[in-house]
Each structure stands twice: as structure tokens, then as C-alpha cells.
Amino acid sequence: MNALVPLPVVLPIAFCGWSVAVGPRLIALQRIASVAMLATVLAVDVILLVQADRNGPLVVHLGDFAPPLGVTLVADRLSALMLTVSGAVTLLVLLYAMGQEGRARGPRAITFFHPAYQVLIAGVSLTFLAGDLVNLYVGFEIMLMASFVLITVASNEARLRAGSTYVIVSLASSLVFLVGIALTYAATGTVNFAQLAIALGDLPIGIRTLSEALLLTVFGVKAAVFPVAAWLPDSYPTAPAPVTAVFAGLLTKVGVYCMIRTETLLFPGNRLSAILMTVACASMLIGILGAVAQTDLKRLLSFTLVSHIGFMLYGLALGSAAGISGAIVYTAHHITVQTTLFLACGLLEQRYGTTELTRLGGAVRSAPLIAVLWFVPAMSLAGIPPLSGFLGKLGLIRAGVEDGGNWAYVAIGFVMVSSLLTLYVVTKVWNLAFWRTAPEPDAAPDPVRAEPPPLGRNATLVLAPPQKAPERAVPRLTTGATVAAVLLGLAYTFLATPLVGVADRGAAELLARTPYIEAVLGS
């Protein structure tokens, strides 16, 4: 069964190699193979989750080299759960993208989307499975290279600008990551997580904290927590809808996953709890206030993403089993819901040609299905019972109350306020884009072609041009993938018991640390 562990990394990369070798030929076969590959990966993820939950961490030493030398892949409950959720979400997003892609053939078909997407998934899987710091780094880099390609797909001026920000920030954080690895290795002589978990305990407190701070900074940049989140709302919204969806759902959560892993396994004791808590509260509030101010739906969603990363960080900062369990559940929920929201936003964009809230309207009548597809995940994001967001927030708040400290209660206040503001934001979007009467088409029906509103005293006109963009049909596969994503989000409500059970056991396993260390090093 352990032989399955490398598959989520190996299969997508194998597909990528094949696809690049085949080139523009056999497009239809490539598409089918792409879906089949991701479906296989998802199946493997599910098996890994079941096995890890039943028998403890699954470990593979590649080439059978013992830990300090060889590459170790580990699938414990946390990794396997993250893998499963991301596998399901990436499969849906792939279907969505294929719906948009249509049936392009010949020289017009872009051949690099599927390989790049698969490499992205390989990188994400490697990050989840990595058993040492260097492989974590390599996983990050694989993921980043693929994301560079995807975020600048069909580069125009705006995408190039957004891509530049993203690339430069990612490169800078990679360098910091390398420094962190070098420091940790120089101090301990190993990069294997299990050995580090033992060796780091003997280090002087200063070096330990420096190493911890360096790693947390890197993961904080990837996860887009407040002081280092400015790159996210700048770079994500311009990418094509499926790309934004998978980035928003997965890439930030990879950072959160790494934070959970390092904070529990490598640096137990939660000594930076106060800093983490402050950062979490700042992210929650500032992110959502940013969302309140936006009029573009994609940017707005990007800001809510920053805000909700704070929720997960809050669970981690509590440091208790309940807190970490809450953070895991919330991460799983948020991967699904944020992706679904971006997919629904993409549907709106395809149908009406814009995501600018001032130009949308009346979608509940003209496109009731899209309205429902947006409404359900939006309510889940805001935390309305009985949707999965409610379960996640309930877990987090209960963990805070159990903790009982003053800081925990202050942070609960932040969670409540941010949740309310999230509700306000999604209601605002609902009212503007869906519920209100559609803006009357003017004499100039296409707003792009309309005369520019004048400066000066008539400037108020500019704020809400009452034109409505022309409607276009949305491919069926695209809508179908979004429906499936919404259903997946709803399924979390019905699967709450097993989900929370896995998260609880996973959190206990993380805090105990011995199962992981023994599984890797042998007892």
C-alpha cells in the first residue's frame, strides 16, 4: 500500500512528459488522459486517506535509502486529507477549464495548459507529501513554475503586470526559504522532518526561533497573511477564471498546511503563539475590510481569501488539539468553497462579460442557475448553518472558548466581526449582481463601445454606468463542473462526522508527534 504514496506526484509529471512529447497532436486523447490522470490521482488520494486514518502514517523511502540520505514521502492524516480535498477540487476545475476550452484543434489549440496544470498538481502533491525540507522546497518550486506559466497564460498588459508581481514575490520568498533551509541544516545536520523534530529540541533557543521565524515568514508569504498579503489581490484576479479558482483554493492553503506542519512537528510548544494570533486577527479584519471596498467581484473574492486565511491561522495559533482540528476542517472547507466561488464568478463573467458589480444586475432572473451556484457557497463562506462554513467556524470558536485565555476571547471577537462582514460583503454582491433589477440597456448597448463619460460635473455618471453587458451562453461542461463543486461543498455538511473525526485524529497525531517520527525513523 505504501507504493501508492508517490503516485500523486509521479502520475501528473508522467502525463506532462507524455503530453509535451506528443505536442499539438492527439488533442482529444490528451484531454481525456488529463481527466483520467486526475481521476486516478483522486482515487489514490482517497485510498491514502483511508489507509492513513486506519494504520497511521504511510512512509516511503525512495530508493530505500535511510532518512538522512534518501528522499522520504510521508502521508499522514493531515497530508492525506489535504491531498483528497485538493484532488477533488483540481479535477472539477480541470473539467471547468475544458468546458471553456471548447473543441479547439490544430494549431489554434494551446497545448501547454494541460501539462502546466498537471505539473501544478504534482507540485502541490509533493508539498503535501514531502518528508523533508528540501523536498518541500522542490515541491514549492515545481508548483510555482507551473503557476507562473498559468498566471501569465495569454499574456496581455494586465496579466503581465499581475504576473510580474506574483513572480517577483514568489522568487523572493523562495530565496528566504533557501536561507531557512541552510540555517536549519547548518545547525542540525539534517533536513528530514522526523530527525529535525528530535534535533531542533537540543538547539539554543535563539537559533531555533530564528529558523522558525524564517520558515513561518516564507509560508506566510505563500499563504498571504496580512503583512505580506498585498501581492494576492493584485495578481490573482487577472488570470483566467479556472486558474484563479485553483490558485485561490489551493496555493494559499499549501502555505497554511506548511505552517501547521512546521508549527506542530518541528517547533512544538507554540512559542510564537502571540505573534501568530496578532497576524491572524489582522488578516481577518483587514482582508475583509478590503473586500468591503471593492467593486470588482474577483478582487473582492481575493480579499475575502486573505481574510479567511486568518481564520485558519487563528486555529493554529491556539495550538490546542481542538484549535488545530478546527483549522484543518476550515482549510478543507475553504479550499472547496473559495474555488467554487471563483468558478461561479467565472460563469458570471462568461455570461455577462464582466465581473464589475456596477455593471451586473438582475442575474437571478436571467441566469437563475448561476445565482444558485453563487448563493450556496457564498452563504457557506459567511458561515450560515448548516453549510460547511458554519461547521468550520463553530469548531474554531469552540476551540477558542475551550482555550479560555483573554487573547482567545479577543480573537473570537475578531472571528465574529469578520464573519459578519463576510456576510455583509456576500449580501452586497448578491444584491448588486443578482437581486436588483437589471440596468436598462442604453442607446449604446455595448458599454465598451459607449462614449466615455465626461470629467467634471457629470463625473457621477461614471460611477455606475447603467449599461448591461451582452449575454453569452455558458458551456454546459463548465456549468456542470460548478454544480459538482457546489455539491461537494454541500457534501461536507453530510460528511461532517467523518470529516471532523479525521481532523480530530489528525490534530491529535500532529500534537503527539511520535507516530510521525516513529513511522519515518522506525521505532
Binding site: Q100, E101, G102, R103, A104, R105, R108, A109, V134, M145, F148, V149, T152, V153, A154, S155, N156, E157, A158, R159, L160, R161, S164, V167, I168, L171, A172, L175, L178, A182, L183, Y185, A186, P233, D234, T238, P240, Q294, E349, Q350, T358, D446, P447, V448, R449, A450, E451, P452, P453, P454, L455, G456, R457, N458, A459, V462, L463, P465, Q467, P470
Partner: protein, 300 residues
């Protein structure tokens, strides 16, 4: 473990130099910065292998405990390979940026700019008004001075709006263009200069104008509603440090997208891949009708 101070000093200097370069706007400089600071960090990793002077390879006579630590070297190799890939990518990005805009500068974010501009405009207006008041002796000359100052201010604003509008045009989802299957529509009007009236999209310039509203009673504002005579093309060329994009319409500018070039040629005006390829060409200069009132106000 003793570490060579030279190695550390080199690492620090290189990282600092690189970091400064990364903070610049030009992508090529950023690339240089990434390479240099990457090398600095690699030296830092190498310093982790301990004292210099140990034999690098295992050959007869070298004990397993005296050979230098290969692990940092392996990490450095990995990092070097990754940096190589990244370098290629950033170079491609810089080249693409030069194709599209004529320079490899990374411009400001549009939404950030809108917010900044809103505050800037309000304070600028206050400042100008005070200045005009101080300059003019009677009400009439004060007004003239104010008008002159405000004209200058609006010229800046126009440039910015043009820039924003252009960015807004590009913000549309071009997924269909890239991966879609629709045939290239025949007979799509080829606009002069690729995108006639490109800066005219209505949504982009919205926010910065907001502060104008409260000041509406200022009569001289209205005439400037009209864009300058040379039309949008001229604006584009003068629009700020970020707006250099003369090459966008060069024949090879669209090359990487191949067959999409023709499709994109009508610019944001032409409906991309929309079911209606016969859309009428956009009005070449929508500003003419606004000029008479401008002159009228000017004489007031």
C-alpha cells in the same frame, strides 16, 4: 563548526546588491537582482558545509569523515537549476512586456492607483485653489489662475485615465481567445493603430473621477470634459511612465499568440469571439460633439 567569513561576507553583499536590484521597476534589473541574490543565498548554503579545505571527492586515502559535506552542494545544485528555469521565464516575461508596452517596466496596479489618485486629486485641488487665491488680486484674475492650474492638473488626470482605461480593456477574460475554438471572424474591421479609442472603456476610469463630483459648481471644469483633439492615440503615447506601448500594434507584437492576432486586432472594441463579428466599427472620435460647449465655456 567554523565557517569561512569570506564566504559569509560575499553572501551578504551579493544578497544586498540583489535585493536592491529586485526593488526596481524594470524586469531585466529584477532578473539581475534575482540571479545575484540567488548566488548570494547559494554561497550562504555552501557555508553550511563547514570549514573549507576538506577534500571534495572520495578517492583512495580520503576517509568518510574527512570528505566535505556533499549535502549543501546538492541543495545549491538544485537551487541553481531552479534559478536557471526562473531566469528563462522572467526573460521571456520581460521580452513579452517589451512587445506589449515598449518597455519592461512593471506598472502600478490599477486599483491601487485609483485609490491613490482619489486622495491625490482631492488634496491637489485644495492646494491649487489656495494657490490661485493667493495669486489673483481680484476675483477675475484669481479665477483665471485657477483655471490655468486646473487645466494642467486635468492633463495629468487624462493621462492617467487613459492608462487605466487601457488596463481595464485588457482585464477581460481572454480565455476564449486562447483556448477557444471559434473561427477567426472574417471581415472584422481593422482599426487604425490596432485599437481605435482604446482608452475609452467606461468602467475603468470611473473611480478617479469621483472626487470631481463635489466640486461640480466650478464652472471651468465642464469644458474639459472633452478629450484633446489628437484623439486617444496621442494620449496613449504620452500617458505617464507606465504607458509606453507603442509596439503593441507592431506586426510581430502578436506573434506569440499566432492566429489570434487577427482576432485581437480590432482591440477591445471588437467583440472577441462574440457571436457578433459584424459589430459596427467604433466611433472614430466621439469627442467632437463635445467641443462646441468647450469653446463656449472657455469664452465665458
Amino acid at each position: 563548526m567554523t565557517v569561512s567569513a569570506t564566504l559569509l561576507a560575499c553572501a551578504v553583499v551579493l544578497t544586498f546588491v540583489g535585493s536592491i536590484l529586485v526593488l526596481t521597476r524594470s524586469l531585466t534589473r529584477v532578473l539581475m537582482g534575482v540571479i545575484i541574490s540567488g548566488n548570494g543565498v547559494n554561497l550562504f548554503v555552501l557555508a553550511g558545509s563547514g570549514q573549507a579545505g576538506a577534500p571534495p571527492l572520495l578517492y583512495p586515502g580520503v576517509g568518510h569523515d574527512t570528505v566535505s559535506d556533499p549535502f549543501p552542494q546538492a541543495i545549491v545544485l538544485t537551487a541553481v537549476v531552479i534559478t536557471l528555469g526562473t531566469t528563462a521565464f522572467v526573460l521571456a516575461m520581460a521580452y513579452r512586456s517589451t512587445q506589449l508596452t515598449g518597455s519592461d517596466f512593471v506598472p502600478d496596479d490599477i486599483s491601487d492607483r485609483r485609490v491613490a489618485l482619489r486622495a491625490e486629486l482631492a488634496s491637489q485641488r485644495r492646494r491649487l485653489r489656495a494657490k490661485a487665491r493667493a495669486r489673483g488680486t481680484d476675483r477675475r484674475t484669481a479665477r483665471g489662475a485657477w483655471r490655468e492650474l486646473w487645466r494642467e492638473q486635468r492633463r495629468l488626470l487624462r493621462n492617467d485615465r487613459a492608462y487605466q482605461a487601457r488596463a481595464g480593456d485588457y482585464a477581460d477574460d481572454r480565455w476564449d481567445d486562447v483556448l477557444g475554438a471559434d473561427p477567426v471572424p472574417e471581415g472584422v474591421p481593422e482599426g487604425p493603430g490596432g485599437a481605435p479609442g482604446a482608452p475609452d472603456a467606461p468602467d475603468a476610469p470611473s473611480a478617479p473621477d469621483a472626487p470631481d463630483a463635489p466640486d461640480a459648481p466650478d464652472a471651468p471644469d465642464a469644458p474639459r470634459a472633452a478629450r484633446p483633439e489628437p484623439g486617444p492615440q496621442a494620449e496613449r503615447d504620452t500617458s505617464g511612465p507606465q504607458g509606453r506601448r507603442a509596439m503593441r500594434t507592431a506586426p510581430d507584437a502578436q506573434a506569440p499568440r499566432g492566429p489570434q492576432a487577427e482576432q485581437d486586432a480590432p482591440g477591445p472594441q471588437g467583440p472577441r469571439n462574440s457571436p457578433d463579428p459584424q459589430a459596427p466599427p467604433p466611433p472614430q472620435d466621439p469627442h467632437d460633439p463635445q467641443d462646441p460647449p468647450a469653446a463656449e465655456e472657455e469664452s465665458r
